[in-house]
Symmetry: C2
Subunit: 487 residues, 2 copies
């Protein structure tokens, strides 16, 4: 690799460069089970600080330097992502939906194709939604140089100054600095996740950086390099973008085209082949939140080196990460463990074995256990529900409907429902009637009645639903009309 | 100690001796938290086999050799114990209620005083409700000799052949065999819980047995020895027995008298002082279920030496005990741990630190955490209830009422209640009305209405109660009438 390419200074001077943030939010984070599950993955949780990792990532791309962001995510997460972006004050995102994850190369290709539609020279900044950056200001200072290198035709990767011989990351060797842009160097080589001895050598040499998975390039460069090195990825993604459909505020990639794309990372598909790879190094406090031990690494430790969150009680415990949503979790006389308790699943592991959590998740999936993929709380565009108890002939749910939202008009063949409003107000459609149900009032919905629930008020509507019947599956539902296009 | 006492052959020959089983069920078993809690302690759980430890213990005293048993327990557990005994087919027990636990010496004194009322020479067999005996037939074969020794005026303790150098038990040294009763020996000495080195020596010597805490004596002998060695225990207990009251099927010891008794074990109060102590040794498979490691010890192990119960998934785990009521519990890459998950509390500890669980419980008690003492499910004489969700202004409960049972007639100042019957049938009193509520029907009980729920049917009544109001504490209740004397 060399810097022989002539500088391709774009139409805009570096000082006025505008960048399109691209947020990849397609992962399911199974190593962070039981908190992270396919139905509500890690980037949507606030594991560090008060914002979720998705929100933190998206906020990094807010400011005068940035155009509207592109967020690429799974179709199933669209309402969650839209709500989290809205909550974080980001109203202009283009939310692009994948029918299923195909790793980073197809997602990045889709972002470049979409950006190129309005400006083939657009500068894109690719960020994964599941990393923590503790010094974002340092990163921001590196961005103009990255954009300048991008405009010369480079694909820039941010290299993070290593702080320990981590075996879970890829490493980058920096080569010759770019002429007239000494902040950036050509990439001399990539090293995949090394073993412990190699990692120690790499860090000791001082010549290697962690591959942060954050890239900066122009749409034009990226598409040209993909055409050369990964045409089997680019062609179907191009078709998926061309055939995309709009759904409310979302852009849905054509499922058949997108699913024919190989599952491949951007590093494998492009970075290890292109001779345009450049690196800009810095100490911006990047950590990939790949497994529970990463959260222990970056967490604030007590005198015994423990990181705790939630209802936790420790006795003679050292070097451990203990997290509990609501169940009281007591740990006695163990060292270097991870304990995570959620309402329906508990994980206990040695911290050094945190990578193996995915094995358990795979086994649970093979056994068809719902806890492998879904949480007890199910998010919907109108709010959420959770099962409080389920028996053979009855089920009790808490349902929360956000102000102004409404469920679909529906009926059930096998179950009747009692609704008791415990907070807020409900406007209920029951066959031809419309009934307002206030706090501390109830309504009965017999089997096969057509019904709908809606929150006409200004505060969340909370109601308790008691279902009775011989079959209580979620698939006993006939939807007649739905605000969120789910019929 | 010597065997100089002349044989005191009683009125009955050994072959026709009848024995009064006495079951001590006063403990709270805090080392088996979070399953065992003061409100529902370990002896009431089926931790080994399908019967509870109380039921297993009580069944040992059923047969031609035995009179009606005496069960001594905490006042708070009376309905649970009565129900478990009924379930185990034991209808003739005398259930004696302590206002609070005062250790074994007062409880044993109370049993002897009660038995002496009908027969001062009654032979009593004292058993703790929280031990497991895997070879009860061996124990039964030793009973006639124990009864014969008891009739000669001895206080006999069963000594268990040690199988390992256990530091958690007391040891007994056997002395000279009794004349004409070689199965029994005088006790040469007691050794309290030894350190590991001493325990190893004791076991290697072959001369020491574990103190099983099971005793056989006549009421007359016991009361005489207590008069001599523990008059400060006997006097208040005698008063508590004399002033006892009957309550339904229970005998309630006079609380003020009983509470003035010192908290002291029978070993300290009597056995270490009397010169009538004798021991009968055997290998009857006795284990005190004092802490979680005992359950691992006696449990059936998989190929990796793990004992599991419930919804458990293990990956690279060895020598561990993992128990889960209902929450899926996954353990990865740890050895020799105990993991116990209940609906509202999780425990993780090194197996060797299982004794320290009581420290955590003490801390939780000091913090006023309800999980330290009470379970989410609360048992009542009419059935049970459990909170499914609690918020500031509402609470949802599942209530189960057994056939023929009824709750008290009551009212609440601060909350209204919606009841939805999901199984069975309810007869509801609401002020002057009596209303039958069938499955899939509901009824509303406004604040301050006088109400009562009763199950007139043949199957358990299950209903979902939704409470709304500004104060939802259990103490917002005015009871007008109660079948179970709780007004």
């Amino acid at each position: 690799m060399s810097d022989t390419t002539l500088p391709m200074i774009g139409a805009k001077a570096a000082s006025t460069i505008r960048i399109v943030p691209v947020i990849l939010s397609g992962g399911t984070g199974s190593r962070l089970w039981p908190l992270s599950r396919a139905s509500y993955p890690k980037q949507l949780w606030s594991l560090v600080g008060s914002r979720t990792m998705l929100q933190e990532t998206a906020r990094r791309g807010v400011g005068a330097m940035f155009d509207a962001p592109i967020v690429i995510c799974n179709n199933d997460h669209r309402f969650l992502i839209a709500e989290q972006l809205r909550e974080a004050g980001i109203e202009n995102a283009r939310i692009v939906l994948e029918p299923a994850g195909r790793n980073s190369a197809p997602a990045i290709a889709a972002a470049a194709l979409l950006a190129a539609e309005s400006d083939p020279d657009a500068v894109l900044w690719i960020m994964a939604a599941d990393a923590v950056i503790t010094r974002p200001e340092t990163l921001e200072q590196l961005l103009p140089a990255a954009a300048a290198a991008a405009q010369r035709g480079h694909i820039v990767v941010f290299g993070m100054q290593p702080t320990r011989p981590e075996t879970g990351y890829g490493y980058i060797e920096a080569g010759k600095p770019l002429s007239r842009l000494p902040e950036a160097s050509m990439v001399a080589g990539f090293i995949e996740k090394p073993d412990a001895a190699t990692a120690a050598e790499l860090v000791a040499s001082g010549k290697y950086m962690w591959n942060s998975g954050m890239f900066v390039f122009t749409a034009r460069t990226l598409l040209k390099e993909m055409e050369t090195h990964a045409p089997v990825v680019l062609a179907p993604v191009r078709q998926a973008v061309e055939r995309r459909t709009s759904d409310l505020i979302f852009q849905r990639l054509d499922p058949a085209s997108f699913l024919s794309t190989p599952d491949i990372s951007f590093d494998y598909a492009v970075m290890e082949h292109t001779d345009q790879a450049a690196v800009i190094a810095g100490d911006f406090g990047w950590t990939d939140i790949g497994s529970w031990d990463a959260l222990w690494d970056i967490g604030e430790k007590d005198a015994d080196g423990n990181v705790t969150q939630g209802h936790v009680c420790l006795e003679s415990v050292h070097g451990s990460y203990v997290h509990s949503d609501e169940i009281l979790t007591a740990v006695v006389g163990v060292d270097d463990v991870v304990v995570v308790a959620t309402r329906d699943a508990v994980l206990v592991t040695q911290r050094s074995r945190a990578q193996d959590v995915k094995k358990i998740v795979a086994r649970l999936q093979a056994q068809g256990r719902k806890e492998a993929e879904a949480h007890n709380r199910c998010y919907r565009p109108w709010g959420f529900y959770e099962s409080l108890i389920q028996d053979t002939r009855f089920q009790v749910k808490r349902i929360v409907v956000m102000p102004g939202e409404k469920l679909s008009l529906q009926k059930h063949y096998h179950r009747a429902e009692h609704w008791v409003v415990v907070s807020g107000v409900a406007l209920v459609t029951r066959n031809a009637e419309q009934i307002t149900v206030h706090e501390n009032e109830s309504i009965y919905l017999p089997q096969e009645c057509t019904h709908r629930m809606e929150n006409p008020g200004r505060i969340p509507l909370v109601l308790i639903e008691i279902q009775t019947g011989s079959y209580l599956g979620e698939d006993d539902i006939v939807r007649f009309e739905d605000t969120y296009n789910r019929t």
